[in-house]
Symmetry: C4
Subunit: 263 residues, 4 copies
């Protein structure tokens, strides 16, 4: 086995997760998330600015090396064996795109004085959390579930959009006159519709006329179930997928030692 093949099998955690390098990268990703979250707390950031910057530079270096090693070793994978086209195809896979986004700040101009731009650059690093998808099957399952239920989800979203248009137009018609500064337009009323139909109900906008409240009651009682559908479908699919994988695992493992049988 060549060095490249060894490296490839070392970094691809598909079959034997839990290696030391995997754990190290997972920990680094989690620390990145924690750092990003804490950075936005001004009191913490001001006291540890240098440490945050050092950690970011370190992370960028590690992720860049990881990316280059993956790019070098990927040709050991028969699906991407061609040195040029194989690597290009690899670079365009979802996981490789996530890896690239994680090191994107390397290719951006140095931070300017535009506070908003700096914040965007900083916060966008949150997508490094998606690097975890490579290491946790549960996250990949969620992707499969969405792909599996695509057809139903599209149908449901069509219905949701129509419900949203109808309920927002109706409420705008009924409440605009009495609350012109709240139900200013149909797009603004859509916020009311979503807050109501997901049952979140912040209380920033609500009908005050008797007619508006009556219509809102009917909309809520009939519509809440439709808005709960996509979330319920994904949740149920995810739990099913988790259960299916668990029983699959138990079949493939030795009941005595717990090791996988046909590995």
């Amino acid at each position: 086995m060549s060095l490249k093949e060894r490296v490839y099998h070392f970094i691809e955690p598909d079959h034997e997760p839990g290696r030391i390098v995997d754990v190290a990268i997972i920990v680094l990703i989690l620390l990145n998330i924690v750092a990003l979250i804490l950075e936005t707390v001004e009191s913490i950031y001001n006291l540890n600015r240098a440490a945050f910057e050092l950690f970011e530079d370190f992370s960028l270096t590690v992720f860049a090396i990881e990316y280059l090693v993956r790019l070098w070793a990927i040709t050991a994978n028969p699906r991407f064996s061609h040195p040029v086209t194989g690597r290009i195809r690899f670079v365009l896979t979802p996981l490789a795109i996530i890896d690239f986004l994680a090191i994107l700040p390397l290719f951006l101009p140095p931070p300017t004085v535009d506070a908003r731009f700096i914040r965007v650059i900083r916060v966008i690093r949150i997508f490094r959390v998606l690097k975890l998808v490579r290491y946790f099957r549960a996250l990949r399952l969620l992707g499969h579930v969405i792909a599996d239920r695509k057809e139903e989800l599209v149908s449901i979203f069509l219905v949701l959009l129509i419900l949203l248009a109808l309920s927002s137009s109706l409420m705008y018609l009924v409440e605009h006159e009495d609350q012109p500064e709240v139900f200013t337009s149909i797009p603004a009323t859509m916020w009311w519709s979503i807050v109501t139909l997901t049952t979140v109900g912040y209380g920033d906008t609500y009908p005050i006329t008797a007619l508006g409240q009556t219509i809102a009651a009917v909309i809520a009682i009939l519509g809440i179930g439709m808005f709960a559908l996509p979330a319920g479908l994904l949740g149920a699919g995810f739990v099913d997928a988790l259960a299916a994988h668990r029983s699959e695992d138990s079949e493939r493992r030795c009941p005595h030692c717990g090791e996988l049988l046909d590995e």
Copy 2:
């Protein structure tokens, strides 16, 4: 095949959706919805008033022609073959009524100075969204589900009304004295009941006395499930219907080419 029969089969998308004329009408309907929604944003409307009016005139013309063509060609359908009574029965079908409502503004007096009336006319056009029912099976399924579960829905609504009457009367009795301007009457308290039992909870009305809060807690814990029933029933029925149609499709289609087999 006569011209009328050809036209009929051309505009009736029951078996072969996706024709160019269908796509054109779907796009026009969607643009109508977008236009209506944007019109209510004052800044956008004031800048593009002429464009909006032109687009409305164009849409009205197209929908009117569509309506007349359907009315002319419908006698090619054996169910509506009689030139007079067939057409009258067709005009009274739900889809034809929706089509007629879409062109209703043609038959209304020119807009007056009454701002409210103008807004009603304008917003009522949102029901053009229902024209989409002809082109999307998912929307028709929803109608079937409601018809299918009618008996259960009626029973549930009876229970909901009684729960609503009981909980509103109780809360009115307990809270009226302490919050006479919030729980002014039982009809006003019904708004509280619905906002609570759907778990929306805007926070515009809530009990403040210890007794009121205790009763509200009991009402909420026991009643929330009943108010979730109609929505849950419709949602579950819709998902089942989607799944059933999908498996039905896979049976009727050639596994090699994906074409329908008994068309």
Copy 3:
């Protein structure tokens, strides 16, 4: 068949609902509910005070006659055949108690000047809505479902009470110092717990400290499911019972005429 037996079979709608006398009483009950609800709207009440009082007197008379007739005829029922002890046992059945409560105002002292007492007397009439249970199977089903699931419900309420005590004590401990006027005591904090765990979320009380918000998040994510259980259990049981009765009906009825077969 004696007159009493005829009367008994006439007023007991167990097997042949839909008689004219049933419909009349159902309509009278519904009108009573509507009247009670409208009475609490001051503007309506002040304009129609005499009509409301007349209608109440009329209703009381009808319900009293109905009660006496039932009491007289009940001995035609073998279960209550003894003229004295049968009638006493009948008077103590749930339906007879509801009927008695509906005419209770006859036995109360004339309205005094105590506004609160008058309101209690007036609103308590809402329980006349329970007279509908005799005429609608869906309402009786709900009672059966509660009886059926009693054991589970008791277990769940035990868990809910413990959750409520734990979460309220914890939040009181954490938030009392920072919001002494909101989380004044554990009983007051229980209102927060219930509003949160039922996901109603009025927004009248919520944690503001970081620790309180963290604990609230954990409580919410884990506890919401438990508080949804009793409602979900009753709802699911009710829908099952409705479905079971429907299929039972279809078995017992003639498929040609729709009449019951073994009546």
Copy 4:
């Protein structure tokens, strides 16, 4: 049977619940909870300070005696038969730890003037409610359900944490500029995420920009289902476990007298 064995079988309610000593301890625990809850209501506490303190001393004494008796008699249980190591292992079982926590105040320094510390000591007594676990199977079932679903729950919490990080970062990015005092940092925005995704929706924080509201709508529609999963999983598992135990019971009981058969 030695005295120790008799005592052991007397206090261990595993097979024959309902003895007088069990009922007495259950009542004492419940009274403790009620006392603790009422103590936090200042008006009640100030009037009955001496009674509350007396009752606490009494409870501590009873619980201490109970603890010592259990510790003495436990060696009658074959699993803990060794006088020293058996008792040490017993002391570390969850139920024994709960029993010890209930008498912890005995080992703490006398109350000082630090009001906060006194409150912590007082409220921490709420965990005495967990002593009920020994006497109610429903509470033990809940523990089994959590252990049973551990694997799924861990996977779901991983997904929830990632969703929480992504949605909070996104909303912070979008809303921070317009509401710097509300969405101050990502940890602060996490409170918004949890309040929204559990559909509680207090209304203390919500997006006000059009972009923020649009992103919030997408997050809500897709994410609510995931946050409902752990609660739903536990709730469903609990109901299943209750039903399973009920049918198990009915098998083991005599259908005539209701007594357990193989006791």
